[in-house]
């Protein structure tokens, strides 16, 4: 059994929506092993994104603990969390979230600007990441000059460029046609199988989930399987 990279206990997230309180996550317990490709499934509003965001250090739980590589991310302050995210987590969004005014190369380079790496080393890593997603020849294109599938692959390159242990993807194929979706899922799969990265993917599409090594289901903030 591989080491546990994510360890979640009693994780609860409450939202106050006016008078009523919404329980987005209800005392979740979850272990994720290093190198897993975990598909996080469930209907809309079941708390998938909330869980993913807490694991990735962009949101905070109401209570409970979330250890990633032994670090309790719920205890880090804002700037520690920013550094932690930069070094340990790669993000892939449903809407790609590339910066429109920056080229593919510049988008992928962004996370590296926060490191100590020199220009030459950054270039090397950016080119390697773009090569991995098969877009080395589109380096100097702006996002609007790329197809949706290509944009998402650039976004994956951006998530990989700092060589993080953990890659999180929130409905990465939600805005893609089936062919592009297939490509993107293949890349995520190879990240886990070949590069040994831990990939957590939110999806409500069983076909997408089938690319994963394990699926878990959320229902009204609770894990059902």
């Amino acid at each position: 059994m591989a080491e546990t990279i994510v360890k979640i206990r009693e994780l609860t997230k409450l939202y106050a929506q006016g008078e009523i309180q919404v329980t987005a996550l209800d005392r979740i317990a979850l272990d994720i092993a290093a190198g897993e490709f975990l598909a996080l499934m469930g209907p809309s509003g079941s708390g998938k994104s909330t869980l993913l965001h807490i694991i990735a250090g962009v949101d905070r739980p109401t209570s409970g603990e979330c250890l990633v590589q032994g670090v309790d991310v719920t205890k880090l302050n804002e700037s520690e969390l920013a550094d932690w995210r930069n070094q340990n987590v790669g993000f892939v969004f449903q809407t790609f979230n590339l910066i429109p005014v920056l080229t593919a190369f510049e988008n992928v380079e962004l996370p590296l600007l926060l490191t100590q790496l020199g220009r030459a080393q950054r270039r090397k890593q950016v080119e390697a990441a773009l090569d991995l997603v098969g877009l080395a020849d589109r380096m100097h294109h702006l996002p609007k000059q790329l197809s949706g599938g290509q944009e998402q692959r650039v976004a994956i390159a951006r998530a990989l460029v700092t060589d993080p242990k953990l890659v999180v993807a929130d409905e990465p194929t939600g805005n893609l046609d089936s062919h592009s979706a297939h490509e993107v899922l293949g890349i995520l799969q190879s990240l886990s199988q070949q590069a040994g990265k831990t990939v957590i993917m939110v999806t409500h599409d069983p076909k997408a989930a089938a690319f994963g090594s394990r699926s878990i289901h959320l229902e009204k903030g609770e894990l059902t399987r």
Binding site: H53, V58, I99, V101, L102, L113
Partner: protein, 387 residues
Amino acid sequence: MALPIRYSLRNALVRWRSTIATVLGIALVVFVFVLLQSLAAGIEKSSGNTGDPRNIMIVRKGSTAESASMIGRQNFQDIRYFPEIALTAKGEPIISADVLVLVNLPRRNHGGEANVLLRGVTPRGMELRPQVNLVAGRWFEPGKREVVVSAKLAKRFANFDVGQSFKSGNATLTVVGWLEGGGSAFDSECWLDADECRSLFERDMYSSFLIHPVDEAAGEKLIARIEGDRRFKLKAEKEVEYYRKQTMTAAPIKWLGNFLAVTMSIGAVFAAMNTMYAAVGSRTREIGTLRVLGFRRRAVIVALLLEGGFLALLGGVLGCAFAFYWNGYTTATMGMETFSEIVFEFSVTPKLVLEGLIFAVTVGLIGTLLPALRAARLPVIAALKSL
């Protein structure tokens, strides 16, 4: 760590359709500011360039303008042999008794009439004003009804070309040359022989004396002596001092320039604020993404300030360019004291351009501050979720 500068620059340029109004607004403010200040600078230059720090100017006490001053002939006889006055090689005292006459003349192209200053000047007076040069034709000859007009006035008044004549009262004067005063007050004058001028216009009195003293100390002594002698009723001061006081006319224009700049810039600040609020609003998720990647609030604020500052700088450059179009353009105003035509040039100095640009960037930064703070205050997760 900061976001790349090109992120801010490209964002400023890419939305040019929505920012053009703000850029033009700031350009307008800077244009008005720089233009009015360049007008004031031109007026100041026209008097500031006038005079020699060593020379002493004498007019009648209480007279507001040289042309309104009247000094009796006896005063000239009394003063000219004062030992404080330097002598020429031939032993003549260096003192020029000038007479100024205001004449009403027609403008070119039936543009109505305006007053022009005629200066009856002596050979000594011409030597004492070396900044005045002949640029066309020749100098007038003593005893002839000839006049050398300012080249700048020549462009504005009828019959001022070399060879033409104009009438004033019973006198007909022939233009024999054009002079240039190097941006001094003499650019608004026409010169003719002093004796000729006095006889033509039947002036028994003088308007002013210009004196070159032996040295600085003698100059001070001369001023004290004339001011102290109640017989004279004359005002003596350094020539540069005299013209500096005539410069007051630039003050209202400066004031107006500053006033308009301040009031208009309030509007420009709000325009910039509006633009940047829109920019920030449409990019909330993008800003959230940057934060997720690890960029701090500070980096976002700096990037947005840079964007707003750059937009404003574009406006500033544009405004200065518009203003610079008028640089060197000669215009005229009515002298407050003489009611004669005073010509001067718009003078867009490097200092004014710099002030205009700094002004523009300041407007941009102030306008961007609140939107930038709002963008940065948003929690990462809220920014990410926004659509």
